[in-house]
Structure formats: structure tokens, C-alpha cells
């Protein structure tokens, strides 16, 4: 059974959602790991959930990255094992330097909370390896700082190395600017590290795993991880 650890920081608030989705819906063996711990309980998958770790003080994710647990997350990642950071988790991975770039306040300054469409632009990784390129996923976002920024050289690298996994799109897969909810460069919603085992994404796949929640498309990401991590 796939073992997942959900890291909990003071101010995390999507930790129980992740726990529920991964355990009760996806059937993984899930445990919480408090940010002060140094061990990840021998897990296969690390999940850094959303929320407002440390009240977003200084910058989103800026304080969380100094938590003791992050050293273990770094080691886990360096061993090529999967790490997924969702929303604030993505912001933490950026601040920790495990992913390139940074987050700015949303264009328009609004906290955006709604279901969006994502186009899967890369499947050469374990998070979307079971999906077809161009697949469209209906998954909610909920953030005030999801306006992904990186410089031109970094963007070129991300594109050349096919590390942009998700882009905000229309229901038909168009990535025109009007389907960009927050101003992110190139409609970026999720990216990989160079080794392709660390994924950061602003949308919440744990919130789209049951019909009751309006979409089950998030399952396809978890199913992919399950299938590819055997």
C-alpha cells in the first residue's frame, strides 16, 4: 500500500482534506507529520498541503521552509521520491528553492476561489503519467497569491524541459489570457523540478475527488501517482 505523509505546519488548513481524500477515497496509508518532526515515517509520497502556514508572515511559505521537517522533505526529494505541494505547499516549495520562480499577489488583488479547467501539458512524470497529454481537468483553486512569476530564462528552461504540467485553460483547452485567473506567466498552474519528482500546483486535487464536491477529476492525479509509484 502506498504510504503518504501529509506535512502539517501551524496554519495549514487543507491537511485534513488531503488526509481524507488520500485515505478514505484513494485508499492510501496516510499519516500526518508535524512540522517539528525530522522523520517522514518512511513514506513513499510527501504531501505539503494548502493553508496559511505561519500566517503568511514575511512572504507566503517563507517561514515554513525553515521548519525542521523541510530538511527531510529535501532529502526525500533528492532521493528521487515524489513530493507534491498544493497551493501554500507550492509556495513553500518555491521559497525552499525546490522549484524555481516565485508567487506574486493575484492580478486584480482578489482572492480567487472557484473551479477552473486545467490542461495537462506534460505526462512524462508520475503525477500525470496515467493521463493523456491535453487532458482537461476540472479542479478548484483558492488563493490570493497564485500569480506565478519567473524570469525569461527560467521560463524558457521550463518550456524546453517540458516541466510545465498544468496550465489554466477553458473547458475546451484554450489557454488564451482570458482563462488565466490570476495573471500567472503562460497560465502556469503547476510545474515540476528538474528531476521530475517534485510537483507544485496551485489547484487543489484533494478537493475534487468525490461527486459531492462537484468534480472527481482530482482523482486522476492521485490514481496516476498510485499507478506510477508501484
Amino acid at each position: 500500500m502506498l504510504k503518504a505523509s501529509v506535512v502539517v505546519f501551524p496554519g495549514s488548513n487543507c491537511d485534513t482534506d488531503c488526509y481524507h481524500a488520500l485515505k478514505d477515497v484513494m485508499g492510501m496509508d496516510v499519516s500526518y507529520v508535524w512540522h517539528k518532526e525530522r522523520e517522514l515515517a518512511g513514506c513513499d509520497l510527501v504531501v505539503i498541503p494548502g493553508g496559511f502556514s505561519y500566517g503568511d508572515y514575511l512572504r507566503t511559505g517563507a517561514v515554513a521552509r525553515f521548519s525542521p521537517v523541510m530538511e527531510s522533505v529535501r532529502k526525500h526529494a533528492a532521493q528521487g521520491r515524489p513530493v507534491i505541494g498544493i497551493c501554500n505547499g507550492f509556495q513553500i516549495l518555491l521559497e525552499a528553492g525546490l522549484l524555481p520562480g516565485a508567487m506574486l499577489r493575484n492580478r486584480g488583488m482578489n482572492f480567487v476561489c472557484k473551479h477552473v479547467w486545467l490542461r495537462v501539458d506534460d505526462t512524462n512524470n508520475l503525477f500525470t503519467g496515467s493521463l493523456d497529454e491535453g487532458s482537461l481537468l476540472n479542479i478548484p483553486i483558492a488563493h490570493g497569491e497564485g500569480n506565478y512569476y519567473c524570469d525569461a530564462d527560467t521560463l524558457k528552461r521550463l518550456q524546453n524541459e517540458s516541466r510545465i504540467v498544468f496550465r489554466y485553460s477553458s473547458e475546451e483547452g484554450s489557454t488564451l489570457e482570458e482563462f488565466n485567473p490570476n495573471g500567472s506567466v503562460e497560465n502556469i498552474a503547476g510545474i515540476l523540478n528538474e528531476q521530475r519528482n517534485v510537483l507544485g500546483m496551485m489547484p487543489h486535487p484533494e478537493r475534487a475527488t468525490e461527486d459531492l464536491l462537484g468534480s472527481r477529476d482530482g482523482r486522476r492525479i492521485w490514481e496516476s501517482i498510485l499507478a506510477q509509484t508501484r
Partner: protein, 87 residues
Amino acid sequence: MYKAEINVTLKKSVLDPQGQTVLHALSSLGYQDAKALRIGKYFELIVDEKDRKTAESRIREMCDKVLINPVIEEYSLQLTENAVLRG
């Protein structure tokens, strides 16, 4: 003791959504002469160091490691000697 006054802004190449929004608000209030606005933050940091050189290099290290995100931000630093701890 040295006091560092650190002013942080987004890099010129980075769009500042907050500054843009406030500039727009100013102009809709009739301040058409307001032409550009960038919002940043300010740190006042007191360090217990004997000499200026060490103080500056320690402070710059703290900026680069924690206080600033060099991907999007830049800063200016002003150092004053004989700083007093208050509060």
C-alpha cells in the same frame, strides 16, 4: 549595535499588482498627477556587532537568506551606528 533600515521593493522587471491597484485608486480619486506607484516593505533591524563591516555582511546574509526573495525582490540598506534597543 547597528541599526539597519532595509527597504524592499519588487524588482523593476516584476509587475506589482498591489501598486497598480492603488495607483488606479488614486487616479480615480482625481489624483491624475500620480503616474507610477510601487509598494514595498520596510524592516528595521538592530544587530549586536562591534564593527560596521561585520554588521553589514551579517545583515546582507540575513537579507539574502530570509528577509528578501531575490527572485522577485530587491532592497536597499542603510546602516546607523550606536543604535539603541527600545521596547
